[in-house]
Amino acid sequence: MPFKRYVEIGRIALVNYGKDYGKLVVIVDVIDQNRALVDSPDMVRGQMNFKRLTLTDIKIDIKRVPNKKTLIAAMEAADVKNKWENSSWGRKLIVQKKRASLNDFDRFKIMLAKIKKAGVVRQELAKLKKETA
């Protein structure tokens, strides 16, 4: 089982602890064994410990420490946002966020939709059972 996700310049990582929790950041340089210089279109370039980062599969093509404009252009070119939102990991996070932000009326609507869906599934199952029986 070799390693597939490396810490390298251009690797996209998810912040999993601290003030910037949930953000996607780009590793722009490596300070030392434990820290990286990270950057993101909506934050000031700063250092972060690798313990706060979870590496993703996405990697963009940048040189060491690009300026903000070049970084944003490279992120657009690699289409990071869409790649992330269409990946299974990204989709799961979006669903989690949606579920956490529901209000009572939304939960009521979901309950009705679940009942409806279960009813349709059960009807189909009954039909299939009748055919085989």
Binding site: F3, Y6, E8, D32, L37, V44, Q47, K51
Partner: protein, 177 residues
């Protein structure tokens, strides 16, 4: 990023007397946790160099020095003099960090861990930003690679906030990446 050690520029001189109307003004850059300690350190060093004490001197200015480019990585070389159990020694250490205060803090913690030297036994002689070509230590030179690439081998999964920390967990964690 809050640092324990702040860099101060302290300016002081001896009090003017009848024989010396305009005494020489001395300026020092030093590290301390706060302004009060910085002033005290200033007089400590000045006493060792000139015949002046806090009681017959005056503080002219004390300003905190902030990092000019905290978003770029630099290699800091720090020359220090420290007191060990058997005597005084000089040392040169290198650190990679974004700010000088961060490098100094790394130095103090490393001296404490590697040599059991407490911070009051350390005197910083000189600090400098070293260009990559002139770095001497392998541990800093190994990061001078524009195509650096390494995997994170041991991934401990942490709860995202301290509140969600529990002593017992239902299952063993998966530490692979």
């Amino acid at each position: 990023m809050s640092y324990k050690f702040h860099q101060f520029q302290v300016v002081g001189r001896g009090l003017p007397t009848e024989s010396d109307e305009h005494p020489k003004i001395y300026r020092m850059k030093l590290w301390a946790t706060n302004e009060v300690r910085a002033k005290s350190k200033f007089w400590y060093f000045l006493r060792k160099l000139k015949k002046v004490k806090k009681s017959n001197g005056q503080m002219l200015a004390i300003n905190e020095i902030f990092e000019k480019n905290p978003t770029t990585i630099k290699n800091y070389g720090i020359w220090l003099r420290y007191q060990s159990r058997t005597g005084y020694h000089n040392m040169y250490k290198e650190y990679r960090d974004t700010t000088l205060n961060g490098g100094i803090e790394q130095m103090y913690t490393e001296m404490a861990s590697r040599h059991r030297v407490r911070h009051h036994c350390i005197q910083v002689i000189k600090t400098a930003t070293i260009p990559a070509k002139l770095c001497k230590r392998e541990s800093t030179k190994q990061f001078h690679n524009s195509k650096i690439k390494f995997p994170l081998v041991f991934k401990k999964v942490r709860p995202p906030t301290r509140k969600l920390k529990t002593t017992y967990k239902a299952s063993r964690p998966n530490l692979f990446v």
